[in-house]
């Protein structure tokens, strides 16, 4: 540690990702100012920014090194400009951001399935949401950002200024530096409610057709797919748009932007391994499918219910027990529908208990070399990490995805073969070259980096 450490406290901590399947020990220092960030990076031999730890694997862990916990850098945001511009600290959670901007009539440009992610984490993963087919990924709505690079200095970058560093940071998994501040472009909303249309499908083909149609019709869409039945694939498609004031019930029209995300219930803290086995998961999927209407148009839902349904249960990740779980998320281009079908069929036929999987359309890729989205289909499925036969099954599916020109999402990965990375991310070398300029001494590193050999 540099002796300029001042008041910053560090402590040895065991860290893991949201999936809790691997863990490693690091020295954690809480960063609560830009100055803290500079001092933490300068003189460190190995350091990594960490947000709220919602990435699934080893993205935000750094064995034997330093981890800068950015969640202390979360001061409230200033006023939103008339055009929706707002400057936010890198450690601010989308949860806190939403609480500050929704009542003013603004929404985040891209929302993941949980609001407990930080702005820095959203940039480092270049996250995508239900609106990707229309609006692209998170970093396409970042006007500029401030990055603390390898030597501890600050670099401003944007799509116009140091553009290569900007795009290398988008999806760069924290390996180009620490994002301490970003200027975001928000979306105007008239109300805090969504008009949601829900449709149930008992076969795959009609769902796929409906999803392609939804690209043009709905600003947001997502389908939940049941991968526990090998005969036919059933699913629930939801599409949504923010409602106009006139659509709200009279009582709500007085305060159309009211935003009070629900309190969370906690999962039990001690859960045995194997609680989520095939039988229980099958029963859950069944109950959930039955609960959805065959078809319902324009139902009003809150932001929390539509965008962040899982946030209703605190620490739901613990339900998988101490051996943890992983999420396999792939994307394949539009022309690889056959690969998508094979993946769905193989996962459905495998004995692996697969909780509700998510199927989404993605729009065009952006200039970031390591950004995940590309025009096509993305499928994400959660599975217990120690499920029998899981490793060879996913290796086989990875190969199909790569062959189809698709890729695995680095923010979720916990088991990809390093040999796959340059195939799935053909611009990896380009990213490495930019990274080497901002971090010539390889100060930034993570367990993900070591496992997938990203930086070398």
């Amino acid at each position: 540690m540099p002796d300029a450490a001042g008041p910053r406290a560090t402590k040895q901590q065991l860290l893991s990702g949201w999936g809790r399947a691997t863990r490693s020990r690091a020295e954690v220092v809480v960063v609560s100012s830009k100055d803290d960030a500079h001092r933490t990076v300068s003189g460190a031999a190995s350091v990594l920014a960490r947000g709220l730890g919602r990435s699934y694997g080893d993205q935000a862990t750094n064995a034997g090194g330093l981890v800068a916990d950015l969640t202390g850098l979360d001061r409230p945001v200033g006023a939103v400009s008339a055009s929706g511009r707002v400057t936010v600290p890198g450690g601010l959670s989308l949860d806190a951001l939403l609480a500050q901007i929704v009542p003013q009539g603004w929404f985040v440009p891209v929302s993941p399935g949980t609001r407990y992610v930080t702005v820095g984490g959203a940039i480092a993963a270049d996250i995508h949401g239900k609106n990707h087919h229309r609006d692209g990924a998170f970093c396409q709505h970042v006007e500029s950002l401030e990055l603390v690079i390898g030597d501890g200095s600050t670099l401003r970058c944007s799509p116009k200024e140091n553009a290569d560093v900007f795009w290398a940071t988008a999806g760069g998994m924290g390996l180009t530096g620490v994002v301490v501040e970003a200027r975001l472009m928000l979306k105007p909303i008239a109300t805090s409610k969504l008009a949601v249309t829900t449709t149930r499908f008992v076969e795959l083909d009609p769902l796929l057709e409906a999803m392609v149609r939804a690209d043009a019709q709905a600003p947001t869409s997502v389908a939940w797919v049941d991968l526990m039945r090998s005969r036919s694939t059933r699913s629930v498609l939801t599409t949504g748009r923010f409602a106009e004031v006139a659509e709200l019930p009279d009582a709500q029209q007085e305060d159309p932007l009211a935003y009070t995300p629900s309190q969370r219930v906690a999962s039990p803290t001690r859960v045995p391994n194997g609680l989520l086995r095939s039988s229980t998961v099958r029963a859950f999927n069944e109950a959930w499918f039955r609960a959805a209407p065959k078809h319902r148009a324009d139902e009003l839902q809150t932001i929390a219910r539509y965008y962040h349904p899982l946030d209703g249960v605190k620490n739901w990740n613990r339900l998988y027990g101490p051996q943890g779980f992983l999420q396999w998320q792939m994307v394949v281009p539009d022309n690889a529908l056959g690969t998508l079908r094979t993946c769905i069929a193989e996962l459905s036929a495998a004995p692996t208990p697969c909780f509700l999987a998510v199927l989404k359309r993605l729009g065009a890729a952006n200039p970031a070399p390591l950004s995940f989205p590309l025009q096509g289909w993305t499928l994400a499925a959660d599975m217990p990490a120690q499920a029998r036969g899981l490793a060879p099954l996913l290796d086989r599916l990875d190969a199909l995805v790569a062959e189809a020109g698709g890729r695995i999402y680095l923010a979720k990965d916990a088991r990809l073969s390093p040999d796959m990375v340059p195939i799935m991310y053909p611009r990896l070398d380009e990213w490495r070259q930019v990274r080497a300029v901002v971090d010539p001494n390889n100060v930034f590193s993570s367990d993900l980096d070591r496992r997938l050999r990203l930086t070398c």
Partner: protein, 248 residues
């Protein structure tokens, strides 16, 4: 780094030329193993192993290591650098025990198996704790679960080593380092060549498979085959006269 399914990428094996160690390395190579350091008394004797691992896509190399040379443990660990797994696999069986054995031979066995084993496990655990992750796998034996007359020295060294590693496992609890004791039964291998196989005899490949799955599940103790745990639960409280007769 170890991945979420438990597959590992790098390993250091202390005493890499035993049949169990070879089988374990091959099993890991079947998953994600990409780097292996084989610590052996005579590196040239491991040339074939290195070559075979290379053919499986593993960057393998052999380094000189003598478990009775105290300085060797830390040297080999430092040389291997960051590794996901360290295996303490060395050990000598020695001749069947009786009072005619030379005092030197008895002391030698204790020095390699126990003193060397304890020092190796200790140094390895510290190395793993410092790097912030990893598993330490120590080859014990059912011979240590209840020591028989005909392997009194070997069995006692394993009993002692096993006991040390149990304590070590508790000592590193909470550091993120995983410690696993492996207690194989009678393994048909070059170590036991010419010996009469005991009940529940197993093979190096089977032991290696049990080790790989124990590693993935984060087990503290692996009996191989698993049934030996129950067998020894029954054998341990056996009255001495009966035990003596069984041993013969």
């Amino acid at each position: 780094m170890r991945d979420a399914t438990g597959a590992v990428q790098s390993v250091l094996v202390l005493g890499a030329n035993s049949d169990i160690a070879s089988a374990f390395l091959a099993a890991l190579a079947d998953q994600r193993l990409s780097r292996a350091v084989l610590a052996v008394r005579e590196p040239s004797a491991a040339a074939d192993q290195v070559l075979a691992l290379g053919e499986l896509g593993v960057d393998a190399r052999a380094v000189a290591y003598d478990a009775t040379n105290v300085a060797d443990h830390d040297r080999v660990l430092a040389d291997a650098g960051d590794v996901d797994v360290v295996v303490v696999a060395f050990g000598v069986l020695g001749d069947p025990y009786d009072l005619s054995l030379s005092t030197e031979a008895v002391a030698e066995l204790g020095a390699v198996n126990y003193v060397g084993g304890v020092a190796a496990a200790h140094a390895s655990a510290r190395h793993l704790v410092d790097q912030g992750h990893g598993s330490l796998v120590v080859l014990s034996s059912v011979a240590g679960a209840r020591v028989r007359a005909d392997n009194a020295v070997y069995g006692s060294t394993k009993a002692g080593l096993d006991g040390f590693v149990q304590g070590l496992s508790d000592a590193v609890h909470g550091t993120g380092v995983h410690v696993m004791i492996v207690r194989p039964g009678f393994v048909a291998s070059k170590m036991t060549l010419g010996m009469e196989p005991a009940p529940f005899a197993t093979t190096p490949d089977e032991v290696a498979a049990d080790m790989v799955s124990g590693l993935a599940k984060g087990k503290a103790v692996v009996w191989s085959p698993a049934v030996l745990q129950a067998v020894f639960a029954g054998l341990k409280p056996l009255p001495a006269p009966l035990w003596r007769r069984l041993g013969r």
